[in-house]
């Protein structure tokens, strides 16, 4: 399913980060993709199931969640290392990447694991880390 991705802060994200970036609470609050109920029905997925979100710059597996308010075609991932796998490098000479309004593809990803923060950072370093 094609969708427009908005990233941003949320209460759960802000509380999760204050709880600790390495905490399960943080991961649970930001490694999620909030979607409209009708979009979830079209993809035949339930809240808590994994979805793969792909932008022109990368892809990431996160858990699906029902958005609080309806807006078909718009998906929301709270700011964080998971959302930023999808954000492009261009700043258009402003210094600020486009964190909002990204065109993405959302698909069901049954059985795929949502990576931990440690796994994402180990991947950035090229693997072989033990924390």
């Amino acid at each position: 399913m094609k969708a427009v991705l908005i990233t941003g802060t949320s209460i759960a994200q802000a509380q999760g980060k204050e709880h600790g970036k390495l905490s399960a609470k943080y991961k649970d609050s930001v490694a999620v993709c909030e979607m409209d109920e009708s979009d979830m029905a079209a993809l035949k997925i339930e809240p808590g199931q994994t979805v793969k979100v792909t932008s022109p710059y990368g892809s990431i597996t996160v858990k699906a969640a029902k958005s609080r308010e309806p807006r078909p075609g718009l998906v929301f991932i709270p700011v964080g290392p998971w959302a930023n796998r999808l954000v492009g490098p261009e700043t258009g000479g402003t210094g600020t990447p486009s964190y909002k309004g990204l065109e993405v593809e959302v698909e069901p990803a049954p059985g795929e694991k949502v990576p931990d923060l440690e796994e994402l950072m180990a991947e950035a370093r090229g693997g072989n880390e033990k924390w």
């Binding site: 807006r71 290392p81 486009s98 909002k100």
Partner: protein, 433 residues
């Protein structure tokens, strides 16, 4: 138990100044009047905290002494040709001042987190000017409040109860004395309490701002909708704007991080300027971190530029896109980094994170972050506004002093002391060389 009153909140740019914190045996046991976000910060500031200086070893980390960690950070900076000194929005102005001196000493780039948030607004201000005022003006005078691309119900939770819709001001004392308007790509808790909600198509803010400028000038539209908003609603908002006594536009990252970026803010400033021909209107950014405004102000008065300040030529230069942190990291141009009170590994695009992961990095932060996992050395620090006091700037540019009310864990110094230490060590290393 001691109850500390009138505590300043070191969470978001609202910097609320009425918190009450209970302390027993140097332990924070309760927080009153704080929002859900600040409560989480205050109550968890002493928990799940690793107070150890750490150094990378064998694919993991080993505990080291503070002195050894400071030495390592100084060596990383002294040996680099073009280091990035990044963060600064969650620390005191005093620490930022030392950070600027350190950046100049090592010929690097100083950038603060505004570079990926409200920095484009600062670029627009340089082009168009800044029709701004304090939160006090909004509270006491504004009868029209517009929240554009921001959601205070999630990010600045007490903004509406302290400064806008639900506060008792001198000339506006109740909710019914003010009209609240929300412009956003989606319905939010904030939009539900608004008198008017304009749901805009993603990335079309510039179009809607331009249409509002037309409507404010009574120009005719040759279309039925702009940016997904029916013309009648645009004309309704324009009428509310020109007929109010005192309007205030608050804007968030919905405006700065979507497609037109600095041009969005320039258009918003132009709209506010137009409105001042007919009534009184001001605007303010909804700044995120409690001292990101201070990070910009200190950099501005010390170097002439609010962020992305490059000292590699021996004098300050500012050219966003070239000297800004995300661009420098994505292009792999910086060869080391000092990250202070910030987590770029969580908040930069992946292309930047990958390059950050492969250069020497020193991190100064009270907590373990994603960036600290990439670091070669991690220096623990104390929390500003909890374990030490310093100057911070509220989102409207009002300077306030935070206070200390508990002792930090051992090894955790205030950022300003950590940075003075590193600066001293860098100078010693350079003298030897």
């Amino acid at each position: 138990m001691v109850v500390v009153k009138n505590v300043l909140c070191s969470f978001c740019g609202c910097v609320c100044d009425d918190l009450e914190v209970s302390v027993e045996d140097n332990k924070i046991t309760g927080v009153k009047y704080a929002c859900a976000l600040a409560t989480e910060k205050f109550l968890h500031s002493q928990e799940e905290r690793n107070p150890d200086p750490l150094m990378r070893a064998d694919g993991g980390f080993r505990k080291v002494g503070l002195e050894e960690a400071l030495d390592k950070a100084a060596r990383i900076l002294a040996e680099a040709k073009y280091p990035l000194l990044y963060g600064w929005s969650n620390t005191s102005c005093e620490a930022i001042k030392v950070g600027i001196e350190l950046t100049e000493e090592v010929g690097g780039v100083l950038d603060n987190t505004a570079t990926v948030c409200h920095g484009v607004g600062l670029e627009a201000i340089q082009d168009v000017g800044e029709p701004t005022g304090t939160l006090g003006k909004a509270r006491h005078r504004a009868d029209l409040i517009i929240y554009w691309g921001c959601n205070p119900s999630q990010a600045h939770i007490r903004h509406t109860t302290r400064y806008t819709a639900f506060t008792k001001g001198l000339f506006r004392s109740q909710r019914k004395d003010r009209k609240i308007v929300v412009v956003d790509v989606r319905k939010t808790v904030t939009s539900k309490t608004a008198d008017l909600f304009l749901q805009i198509d993603p990335g079309k803010d510039y179009e809607l701002l331009s249409a509002l400028r037309m409507a404010v000038r009574d120009m005719e539209f040759e279309t039925e909708a702009v940016a997904g908003v029916p013309v009648e609603k645009i004309e309704e908002l324009a009428e509310m704007m020109v007929s109010c006594e005192f309007g205030m536009l608050f804007f968030g990252l919905g405006l700065t991080q979507s497609s037109a970026k600095n041009e969005n803010i320039a258009a918003a400033i132009s709209l506010v300027r137009d409105l001042n021909l007919k009534t009184k209107f001001l605007m303010l950014p909804m700044r995120g971190h409690y001292n990101v405004t201070g990070a910009n102000k200190v950099a501005l008065w010390q170097t002439g530029y609010p962020f992305a300040v490059d000292f590699s030529h021996g004098y300050p230069r500012f050219n966003p896109g070239e000297t800004s942190a995300a661009d420098l990291l994505v292009r792999g141009e910086v060869d080391a980094a000092l990250v202070v009170a910030s987590d770029p590994a969580s908040h930069m695009p992946w292309a930047a994170v990958k390059n950050l992961a492969n250069i020497p990095v020193a991190v100064v932060d009270p907590t373990l972050t994603a960036t600290s996992l990439l670091a070669d050395v991690r220096i623990p620090a104390a929390f500003n506004g909890i374990e030490y006091g310093g100057t911070v700037y509220r989102m409207d540019g009002v300077a306030l002093k935070t206070r200390k009310f508990v002792e930090p864990p051992p090894n955790c110094l205030p950022d300003v002391e950590v940075l003075e230490n590193i600066l001293h060590k860098v100078r010693s290393l350079k003298e030897v060389a």
